[in-house]
Subunit: 276 residues, 3 copies
């Protein structure tokens, strides 16, 4: 059994409680994908109970789409740090506005994140590079092509070392690094960028897997990206055979996570060790 | 025609307007299940118009998942009480944090609820018992087994008498009591706990049925639990035959409410009179 | 190629970024229908970044369902006006409460809207007429029947001239007018009023099309209503053949927008020129 299969198995045994402070656009999808994976979602986002609520959680997800709840993220994040509960950051549209640049900086200063999962524009922005992101999507200029891969990996590895966090970049080629080890994952499909919430959902999955296996954030992040990518491939194949569109694709993707087998992960993961 | 069939028939004739002050996680599902049942949803949650908006409503649903809107619930609830419009409470995660314990207490003091629908942990918390709930789900310790049923019914009946409310506990065996009469309903399926919003949706259904038949909150609560449970059974049978997961299950469940027949309720309800 | 086909073609080429300040009930559906149409959604609703965020957008949608975000709408709307970015208003439940009447008035005073899309009750309220709307739905009294059509068109044309906006009324017969030109569109189906968000979604589509073709708001509004209506017809035909309900209908409708062809628009649009 690979470490990824083990994480899936432990998720189903432990049913980790994942506290999410997340945005109103995709909150329902995030809760349902957590349930699909075998976790238990808790979506309270009010600062008055943030620190108390996180005490029962196995992981905390802070999604910067809920930028109005930054204070709740900091309160819950500090308490989670104190208790050794892994905290996962989704820096939604981090470089998009000055408010988001400031907020991202503040979150990184106040809270230690076990994993940070973003697209290439968001991660480049956290690394202090100039980005060209438009809205919540990666820009064409920032997208990681095969040609730009070595440079992108370098940025990710440096950021991982500086923040002592696992950095996970999702895109056509996903990059996961803790600064020492780096893997690339090449699962997924184009329709994932035609639904809202692909990014938020994969971060939620990483939250579930970190909750199940808190000592292995690197493996949990890789497992999250792989399960999401493979589920996307399953849903894409259904979309093409049924002639459906992005709404049904979203449901099929969550269904694919619900029906995911440990065996399937080992058989379908397209993972490459970049640095051991 | 049974009283439950009558309530369904009246719902479709009257298209009751149900004002919901509810949480952002499941608000879309709640609106769609109200429409599926034949009602009309209104989801405004701002305190500045809460009391005025409820004046046109046939029922008001207060969902404590929207804990930031407690003031709107109280304003709307008091106005609904004044006008004789039934108010339904969903005490989401009532015992989960000190904020929620305080809020639940305040709501019960300020507003009279025709029906309160929660899981066993939430209802036990309202009854002043120590609970072990984790997040929004019932805890294994609080869940109502056949063995614990007499004790659970006693708690429900006492609370119903004390609050002069119909108390509805959903779970594997649902309990509905107004303090004098008590029924048990045994419809439903396991996948209902693998989607977010099962609880919020059944409370919304009870809201629709109370709006259609405001003088019969006991029967409306039982009808809501029965329709939800039977719709869950329909969706579960589709899930098993299609090999789908929890996302499609959610849609099939709402669809099943949309296509519900009065006849189906009488044929498929598994109801037992516990105390007449 | 008709102007409507052109707008569809340009949408897919330009992938317009549509900033939406919209309500929490249907925000996920709005984002997904924008993606289905070929646009890119950005759903930030906080006033602290509203004006900055809109600078990158091709269109701004202000949905009065998010009545708590009126200030953000005004800040973003003024900036969009300054930059020549089209702004679209959805006056949700405009006549429903005094708060909404005041808010609608304020929005119309502070921001110029390229297009305003509402139901007959909402548009009548903006025109200063007494309305009988209940919640977010058009009232039976306000609904535009064939008999009342001439009077309704007159109201729409006068309002369009007064506000220098394209006014789009959706209903069994849709009316679109810029004050000089008026068209009627008769696509759609009854089940569209059995899901939440039909109105919000068609306004989002109009936003995408305005973003793709900012100089032609009249044609963009008509294209939005036509695409939504035809997609509704496709979904209705699937619902009847599959025996599904309103939840699957919602997904099929968004899927139909995803799979929409330029050719289909020309073949299936039921449009009538009322005034050239």
């Amino acid at each position: 059994m690979t470490c990824y299969e083990e994480i899936l198995k432990m998720t189903r045994e432990r049913e980790p409680l994942v506290q999410c402070i997340t945005n109103f656009v995709t909150v329902n999808d995030c809760a349902n994908i957590i349930l699909a994976a075998g976790g238990t979602p808790a979506m309270s986002h009010v600062k008055e109970e943030a620190a108390e609520a996180v005490q029962k959680a196995d992981a905390l997800v802070c999604n910067m789409g809920a930028i109005e709840d930054t204070e709740a993220m900091i309160l819950a994040g500090k308490e989670a740090n104190r208790l050794g509960i892994p905290v996962i950051l989704d820096p939604v549209a981090a470089g998009g506005t000055s408010l988001r640049r400031t907020t991202a900086k503040q979150l990184l200063e106040e809270v230690h994140f076990a994993v940070i999962r973003g697209n290439a524009s968001e991660i480049r922005s956290l690394a202090g590079e100039n980005v060209t992101g438009r809205g919540v999507d990666v820009s064409a200029l920032d997208a990681v092509t095969e040609e730009k891969l070595p440079e992108a990996v370098k940025t990710v590895e440096l950021l991982a070392r500086r923040l002592k966090s696992v950095i996970a970049v999702s895109g056509k080629t996903d990059i996961v690094s803790d600064g020492d080890r780096t893997v690339l994952i090449r699962n997924g499909c184009a329709t994932m960028s035609r639904i809202t919430g692909s990014g938020c959902m994969v971060t939620s999955l990483i939250g579930v897997f970190c909750g199940a296996s808190p000592k292995r954030p690197f493996e949990a992040a890789a497992a999250g990206l792989a399960v999401m990518g493979i589920a996307g491939e399953t849903a894409e194949s259904l979309r093409l055979s049924k002639g459906t569109g992005n709404a049904t694709f979203r449901n099929d993707l969550i269904d694919a996570v619900f029906n995911f087998t440990e065996n399937q992960l080992t058989e379908e993961i397209k993972i490459e060790v970049y640095r051991e």
